[in-house]
């Protein structure tokens, strides 16, 4: 998982900056990108899922109530392409720079504006872009390291999730009500 199968340099720069704002480095874990979350996103967007597997894609497309969930025509890959471009257009008009060139404090403010939907993007709602970005970032941070993120089980160490092999027939009694301190392990450690 080292080559760049699909994203442009500008997209990678945006994602690195965004992911590191969502998951900043501190004593709890390295930054999102240092945990491999950008690699994760890149590979997911290049996967069948990124191309719309599991997503009903027939029209007609209508403006929806929130209860209808996702109703855009874009595949995840298309949504990220359009969303990143629109986000950079927005930060250029607000700050004169691409998102990744902003100071931390402005990145945080920009992501909040996307999250609330108060940032006007053309062609795609900023809120939908943000939700997709946040979901994929959290998936990458917390998924098994075999997918490229959660490097060294950093996210699992942060919360105390032991990962695999997940066999607790005895521990369910012996560790009842007690902290279960085991270094987390990945599927890869057992395959």
């Amino acid at each position: 998982m080292t080559s760049s199968p699909s994203l442009t340099a500008a997209e990678l720069a945006f994602l690195t900056a965004a992911v590191d704002t969502l998951i900043p480095a501190d004593d709890l874990s390295p930054s999102g990108s240092d945990c491999g979350v950008v690699d994760f996103i890149e590979w997911q967007l290049a996967s069948p899922w990124g191309e719309g597997a599991g997503l009903y894609r027939d029209g007609p497309f209508f403006q929806a109530k929130p209860e209808h969930g996702y109703q855009l025509r874009f595949t995840p890959r298309e949504l990220f392409r359009a969303g990143i471009a629109a986000a950079n257009v927005w930060t250029r008009s607000a700050h004169g720079k691409d998102f990744n060139q902003l100071a931390d404090i402005d990145r945080i403010a920009a992501l909040k504006a996307f999250e609330e939907g108060s940032a006007e993007f053309s062609g795609v709602p900023s809120k939908e872009v943000f939700e997709a970005l946040l979901n994929l970032t959290m998936e990458g941070f917390f998924a098994d390291p075999i997918y490229g993120g959660n490097r060294d089980c950093s996210a699992w160490k942060m919360i105390g999730y032991p990962g695999l092999p997940a066999r607790y027939r005895e521990a369910v009694s012996t560790s009842f009500g007690k902290r279960y301190d085991q270094p987390p392990r990945s599927i890869a450690d057992f395959s």
Binding site: T21, D26, D58, A64, E139, A143, G160, V172, G177
Partner: protein
Amino acid sequence: MTVKLKEVDVVVVGMGWTGSILARELTKAGLHVVGLERGPRRTSEEDFAPPSIRDELKYAIRLALIQDAQRETVTMRHSPSETALPIRRLGAFLPGSGLGGSGVVWNGITSRFLPSDFELRGHLTQRYGRAAIPSDLAVADFGVTYAELEPFYDRFEKLCGVSGKAGNLRGRQIAGGNIFEGERSDDYPNKPLVTSKPGTLFARAAAELGYHPFPVPSANASAAYTNPEGATLNACEYCGHCDRFGCAVNAKASPNSTLHPVLLQDPNFELRDHAAVKQLVYDRAVRKVRSVRYVDVRTGAEYEQPAGLVLLCAYVFNNALLMLHSGIGAPYDPATAKGVVGKNYCYQTTSRVQVFMEDEEINPFMASGVNGMAIDDVNGDNFDHSGLGFFGGAMIFCSPASGRPIMIRPVPPGTPRWGAAWKQATAKWYNHSFFINVSGASYAHRHSHLDLDPNYRDALGRPLIRMTYDFQENDRTLVAHAAGVAVKIAQAMNPTMMTAPPAQRGSFHTVPYQSTHNTGGTIMGSDPGSSVVNRYLQSWDADNLFVMGASTFPQNAGYAPTATVAALAYWSAHAITTQYLKNQGPLVDA
């Protein structure tokens, strides 16, 4: 071009829980059975092996074992005046696909319904008077009683090696079991699993308040168990990868672990996978289904399979779709309340309270599909509803099923969803928080129904099934009442912090997972003017067609459906083998 095949005795459409039960019972009776399953063949040994099955991203998030929404989904609108939109990515409910169906990915809550749930209209009329039931509450009787189903509940529990504790054994009340349950002929085959920390805290608080906590019956074996089919289940590993996953150790009862070891070896049974049934070929003149048309989804080739007996076991949505698309029975019209197919679509009403306890180590990742505690004090008609303004109730339970961190990352209300403060709260609370859940009844409303969508089509070119559904006044007040009790119990646990329950205030939302406890659409009953199938689940319009599953419930009770779905399947199989095969025709006069 359609390839016409040679007639067989029985075709089963859909090989999940009900299809597998019927296939087993009918092959045992000497019939040649063909099982058509839209998804792939899956076996425990080959497809659910550790460690790779314990992959949250693949199974719980990308939904590897769930119906492919790109091929077929459901459209949703809240009322008949709206245009329905497709659920483009499945969320609220997740029907399984592939051999074993949703029976592979369920959690294994194996509750029986209460006796009064089956005779709901009769029971409520008797207790509260006819005038007390609102006219738009379309509650109905099942047409079968708890006492009639009891032996078949017992069979299913023994098939699954259910872990639990009886509360009413042949009329004798047993403390520590569910004292509200209907009379049981036998105890559960396995003793309860090890109760989780949250379950223990919940039970203590509930008992202090005078409620009657009991272990939630669980189709996850607490000890190695060999079922009456000769299939062996191993003891549960509390791996925290139950719902949405296949079981890596064959502890969860699924069709695959309990029935397929025998069924797939049986020369009387033939499985055809990747076989999506498109239509039933209905002969209106003689009131029979002649054959079923299906497509091999790998090649696109179309087949017509004639059969003497057709069993529709394709889960709620495809059951209703196949009836409507094949022109069997009169479609329901909410404007006139006439017609039957599609009516009384119901769901499960839900709420929850989140509890934070700083000093308790929860270890949420050590969990069986169900190893918690519940109360039924405010379920069904176990309490007096006079003057309350609603009927029905809910099971309130505390049984965290996983600590899988993509999905389970509790933080106190008001915490940002990302950034440094989010990280701190996530690290602090991961091991110290859990939910108390409310799983409530859902009673039919005149507007709620399923029909064919006029705008959207599936991969086979058929209309998508359209759901017209929203929570109604009865749902909202029922859930608010039960959630109030959940809050009281949570408070009695003396938590560091807790959230207010999101009572069912808003409209039905298709995104957050609620439950795959959809019901109705092909309901059972005692007359063809108001139901689709009779008390034996036989179609009123075609005597050689039987419809299985929760689509036959006239309404949903405050319980997970599968034990009742399976008991009805055994009950129907019994009627087919003992009555129908001897004398093929309607089992109930119309």
